[in-house]
Subunit: 266 residues, 3 copies
């Protein structure tokens, strides 16, 4: 632990981690940070990503699920993928023993197991949000200020009405089919690797081949296990089975799309 010049450990406020579909070409993300730093001048802010495809709540949910365990204990996530802003969808904060999440109650936090949730609050305390609250930008007017107040030490009981559950999306899960397990491509990364709905624990020494886009592909440990230009399946950094092409772009080479069928053969 870092020690200040007085010999005391330096106390850091909780990290605020931002995940949005705002991109970086507009001022939206900068304005959210301005609001946070106006309330909590010492805030530490981490950009998880602002590249969630516009209004793609499922992609935001998968990003948070894959990333959260690598962020410091105590992190407060501020997540804004919010096609329903201005409707009657609720604003919510959820807390586990490890981290917390502030954002729209639209399924963005569906990855949280009911058993790990310690507290859910609807964000209806007007003293913690900007006034007037716009109908179009709750990232700025609600989620950023509430998270900044948490970083400043505001107690959870002040956030608003206690709730019992969060909204949930149906997450695509592999299903048993005549020829094995059938899953799908969920999303792609920048390198064209396809992230599938299979997790590491769906695999076994006997279940080590996938069929996708008419090809049969072996599950390996790393890209280097196949030759350049060859397709390979492996458990990627997302913790899910990914389809890749060594030194290439699997999305283009194999002609994959989001939703493409992937069969794990048995």
């Amino acid at each position: 632990m870092r020690v200040s010049s007085t010999g005391n450990p330096v106390k850091h406020p909780p990290l605020l981690a931002l995940t949005t579909d705002f991109g970086l070409n507009d001022i939206y993300v900068g304005v959210m940070k301005g609001v946070i730093l106006s309330i909590c001048p010492g805030a530490r802010i981490l950009d998880l990503t602002h590249g969630i495809p516009p209004q793609d709540v499922l992609a935001g949910c998968l990003a948070l699920e894959a990333a959260r365990r690598y962020l410091p204990t105590g992190t407060v996530h501020v997540a804004v993928v919010d096609p329903g802003v201005g409707t009657d969808r609720r604003a919510v904060a959820v807390r586990t023993d490890r981290d917390a999440f502030v954002g729209p109650d639209n399924g963005l936090f569906s990855f949280l197991a009911p058993a790990e949730i310690r507290e859910v609050r609807y964000l209806d305390n007007p003293q913690l949000t900007l006034t007037p609250r716009s109908a179009t930008f709750h990232g700025r007017d609600v989620f950023a200020p509430v998270a900044a107040h948490l970083a400043e030490g505001t107690d959870w009981s002040e956030l608003g009405t206690l709730a019992t559950e969060i909204s949930r999306l149906p997450l695509p899960k592999p299903e048993v089919s005549p020829d094995g397990f059938t899953g799908q491509v969920l999303t792609f990364d920048r390198f064209g690797n396809a992230v599938t709905s299979f997790r590491a624990d769906h695999l076994s020494p006997e279940r080590n081949r996938v069929r996708v886009a008419g090809q049969e592909i072996q599950v390996k440990t790393t890209y280097g296990d196949v030759g350049p230009g060859q397709p390979v399946a492996l458990v990627g950094s997302s913790g899910r089975l990914e389809i890749a092409v060594r030194d290439g772009d699997a999305r283009r080479v194999l002609g994959l799309d989001r939703g493409s069928r992937v069969v794990l053969e048995t």
Copy 2:
């Protein structure tokens, strides 16, 4: 206010907010931050956006105007949209009671009302800039170091020659026409929403319809006030009238361009 382990409030240097047209694929922004942190190791830096369209001074001006009131009091903006770098355009710093702006004197700060300006300085003190000063990258050689020195506590009187005014761009303003007020589309955000030259105070209960791209569109409060796929006009987070399509991309759906005519009917 945060209190250190010694019981004293922690004093933060002023926030430096960066706005440029450099994008994030090159090293320009990283190098500016390196220069700032070399001079002021404890600097707090906020990226407002680096996605201003290349050399689009008006877009930079509108971004700063829309964002500044959400940033902390005392923020020093470093703004670089600088097609005239290497010519005889001046480098300038401007101060108001709320914030300050450092950048090229090319109209980028035209949104500042003359009455709110407290001090204007040309940045001609060579002790505060990098030597040699390149002819192509004043963001690195002039604006970043000057702002870092301000964050370190350098007095405004040391920045350079006192000036009386800043350069100004003609900002597009709505004009009275036979069928109402005629304005235009100024810019678009990532979601395809069109920001217009109308401000909230141009609207009234009687002036609540716009005509744009051959369509008549009602002014509403939020996206949810119309059905999915329907166009809507509303005062957006920019504080200006925006044209949107619910769950869609107004730019594409309505075929809008920058400069497209928008009539607020009376």
Copy 3:
């Protein structure tokens, strides 16, 4: 130097500067920062750029070379352009009197002169990396945690096996040809300026014209030395000769590509 409320100078941990080809649309960069802040909560992190073209080790090398002298003394660079992840390429840390570099040993640090290298270590101490170490994402599992431990004060001797040299790429160098020096276009920036393999010291009052794409272009000091739309050659912010078009995009206007031949006439 900033002084804390107790009158003592504030000691900052070394700056960690990140350079990758990960882009900002995925969670990779955010996860690396999460790992760093989990180990070193007070870390200061600078994004040099995450826009290196995918798996383009040479572009990463040129970016680091151009940027490093603008970052604070003591900066630890974490650089990840790593097409060989999961193969037997080594992970390495290199130290000079000015800065340090952590990343794959694949030529990414070829710009370092042998004479300036003070220490090279292979990163084979498993206590400083994440367990299990994935075969696909050493940015998260190896390079980020090692750099964070350095920021926390871990001694270089603990990083791993002492080595004597780093891997090196052949860097394109201009060659003498019948009509002068022959070089090439190395890369482009956002504005379409072409960075060439010529450095400032290749130029002289007599060697002040280049021939590129069938045109003869004068070497000038700044964009403003030619008329709008005119091509110009100048020593750009990279420290290399660049080909530009005033108020235009040289890549498009002149039809340049990476590798395009540039002749410095004598």
